[in-house]
């Protein structure tokens, strides 16, 4: 019972963080499920994918009109991301667990570094302005495919790649990028979750308890969204990514 309570609380934390930062919560959940609760990594990945969908659903259920996602942008990028996710889900069974941990760490550190670079010397900006045009589509698609591949391999929604990509590379305001990523991570996770369901890597008790916590956390996180500054969110994202990267590096070695 203590394990199930711990999973529920972890789910709440993942849901709140995910909703605030445009992530699915998997980047937090997969290390917690493997390092703290000692779940087999493929079960952790399968559980996390369901929870990413729960985060996206929770945010969608509570979203307001002015804080909404750029749906056309999301769908365009998802063409590349969903394809990458299916491929990642299929080959995930072939990649050793340690290699997955190291890959996770590398991707996370890269995203954190770019987000810091983007944030240096910039004045506070409007989170949800609508007078923007996304640019650098080629690079955006390439990184979106990578986000999908990482999602299918590691059980994350890829939001920690998508948010910096949309914000720092494609010129989308951070609040819009966050909301758009919340919409996208559910689709990305759905593209690979059926592979894990088919393999029996989604265990009902663990998944139900964690997903319930995630859904609750995501609805709370969405309500908090409009009250926070861009710089706070940016640095919270960076700190979280570095902490997770260090833990996964340790696990990989």
């Amino acid at each position: 019972m203590a394990l199930l309570l711990g999973l529920f609380v972890s789910g709440i934390a993942a849901g709140v963080l995910g909703a605030l930062l445009g992530l699915g919560g998997g980047i937090f959940l997969v290390p917690v499920l493997t390092l703290l609760f000692h779940l087999p990594v493929r079960v952790a990945v399968g559980t996390s994918l369901v929870c990413v969908i729960a985060t996206s659903a929770g945010v969608a259920a509570m979203a307001s009109a002015e804080g909404g996602a750029d749906v056309p942008l999301a769908l365009r990028l998802e063409i590349a991301t969903a394809a990458g996710a299916v491929f990642g889900g299929v080959v995930g069974a072939l990649v050793p667990a340690r290699a997955l941990s190291l890959l996770f760490a590398v991707v996370v550190f890269g995203s954190a570094a770019y987000t810091v670079y983007k944030g240096l010397g910039h004045a506070e900006e409007a989170m949800y302005r609508r007078d923007y045009r996304p640019r650098r589509w080629g690079l955006g698609y390439a990184v979106a495919s990578l986000a999908g591949l990482v999602s299918g391999l590691l059980g994350v929604g890829g939001g920690f790649i998508k948010v910096p990509t949309m914000y720092a590379i494609m010129g989308v305001p951070l609040g819009v990028a966050t909301a758009t990523s919340n919409f996208m991570v559910g689709i990305t996770a759905a593209a690979s979750v059926f592979v894990y369901l088919g393999r029996g890597d989604v265990r009902p008790v663990v998944t139900v308890v964690t997903a319930a916590g995630v859904f609750l956390g995501a609805t709370v996180g969405t309500l908090m969204q409009g009250h926070l500054k861009v710089s706070w969110l940016r640095w919270a994202l960076v700190v979280l990514m570095v902490a997770i990267g260090v833990q996964m590096l340790w696990k990989g070695f």
């Binding site: 019972m1 394990l3 199930l4 999973l7 779940l39 087999p40 079960v43 369901v50 969908i53 729960a54 996206s56 659903a57 929770g58 969608a60 259920a61 979203a63 009109a65 909404g68 749906v71 056309p72 769908l75 365009r76 998802e78 063409i79 969903a82 394809a83 996710a85 299916v86 889900g89 299929v90 919409f183 559910g186 689709i187 996770a189 759905a190 593209a191 690979s192 979750v193 059926f194 592979v195 894990y196 369901l197 088919g198 029996g200 989604v202 265990r203 009902p204 008790v205 663990v206 998944t207 139900v208 308890v209 997903a211 319930a212 859904f215």
Partner: protein, 98 residues
């Protein structure tokens, strides 16, 4: 479209969560220990929970379908085509993965 997506998200996720909760309560009610990693499709409780999980898993695809129908009705055909490609990718993942 945003309002329709919000309604779909609320309705479908509420139903999925209700099924998951029902399955979990059923497992608890049987009085046996709840091994967290067990997967036993002969147990009704596990089947209920997995059905709820499956329903949650199709929610993103349903939201894309909402976008597809909205863009088609509004004659925004380029965006409708993009949405259709994403729906087909999700369907392919269900068929080949599941």
């Amino acid at each position: 479209m945003d309002r329709a997506m919000r309604r779909v998200a609320r309705g479908l996720s509420a139903f999925a969560l209700a099924l998951m909760a029902a399955g979990f309560v059923l497992a608890l009610a049987h009085g046996a220990a709840l091994p967290p990693l067990s997967l036993d499709l002969t147990k009704r409780s596990h089947r209920l929970m997995l059905f709820g999980i499956g329903l949650l898993a199709v929610l993103p695809g349903v939201r894309v379908l909402v976008a597809l129908s909205y863009y088609t009705a509004a004659r925004r055909l380029a965006e409708a085509l993009v949405a259709l490609v994403v729906v087909l990718e999700l369907l392919a993942s269900m068929i080949f993965g599941g």
